[in-house]
Symmetry: C2
Subunit: 155 residues, 2 copies
């Protein structure tokens, strides 16, 4: 079985695969392909997007397997869901430090905004007795490129 399906790959030391292994899950060719693809992208893909990308190298891949793997990784805290985009589908974000996703409502691009001090938020929620497990901070608007296009082309 072709275990190394994706070009530009990172065959060793994939923290997603390490996490799966540590959790006791079986390391299948499909999961390796998905984890490697995720590690080598900087997009915020939907399940369908992952499926379509990987299917080229892995024709028998099932969409259900992608969903299963993504939710398995999410359950392990290795991925987070991003608030649904305009198209109504869930997008995934690799779990790093808490950050804000800037979603462009015109082109759909998602940019990460890191390095914010979120401690006031944690403090405020603690005063309400709420215990935060996961943050989903999303801002919708127009990215720099779309703003420029709108201003130059004027519609």
């Amino acid at each position: 079985m072709n275990l190394e399906g994706h070009p530009a790959n990172n065959l060793e030391d994939n923290p997603l695969i390490d996490g799966l292994r540590a959790s006791g899950a079986k390391i299948t060719a499909q999961r390796i392909a998905i984890c490697n693809w995720l590690l080598n992208t900087n997009t915020h893909p939907t399940a369908t997007a992952v499926y379509e990308e990987i299917r080229d190298d892995f024709p028998t891949m099932s969409l259900a397997t992608v969903y299963n793997t993504l939710s398995l990784l999410e359950g392990l805290g290795l991925l987070h869901q991003v608030a649904r985009a305009d198209d109504g589908s869930v997008r995934y974000d690799q779990a790093t430090t808490p950050h804000i996703n800037l979603v462009c409502t015109r082109c759909g691009q998602i940019t990460d905004l890191h390095h914010l001090d979120l401690s006031p938020l944690a403090r405020s929620s603690a005063t309400l007795g709420f215990h935060i497990q996961n943050l989903n901070l999303t801002a919708y608007g127009l990215c720099a490129d779309c703003l420029a296009e709108l201003e130059s082309g004027e519609k």
Copy 2:
């Protein structure tokens, strides 16, 4: 924004209806029923929840009308979507000042967390050239009630 609204009144002077009227939309009995119900709730309902509540008093109400009205109000900036809950449906939040929604992953309750200084966020996104139009800040975790139940009942 005014914070005066207390439940159990508001046959007149509904800012949602005022907004619809100001936009030139027709004021129908269905829209009045939806807007009044929204004004008098402090929940973060799904479209289906609004539909089921109102259908008791308004048996011919169609679910599509609820969706239409909610997205109309959202387009006018009078409602905002909350990041999808666990059940995969969109919830709505009346537009007041930007705030954070605390979603309990155990009981589903959503609490608003107001009075946060979000200017650092706006500043950071501006340096990227991103123009924020709408914020969707959601934190998932356990509310005080569920924490207490888990600790006392111990599962």
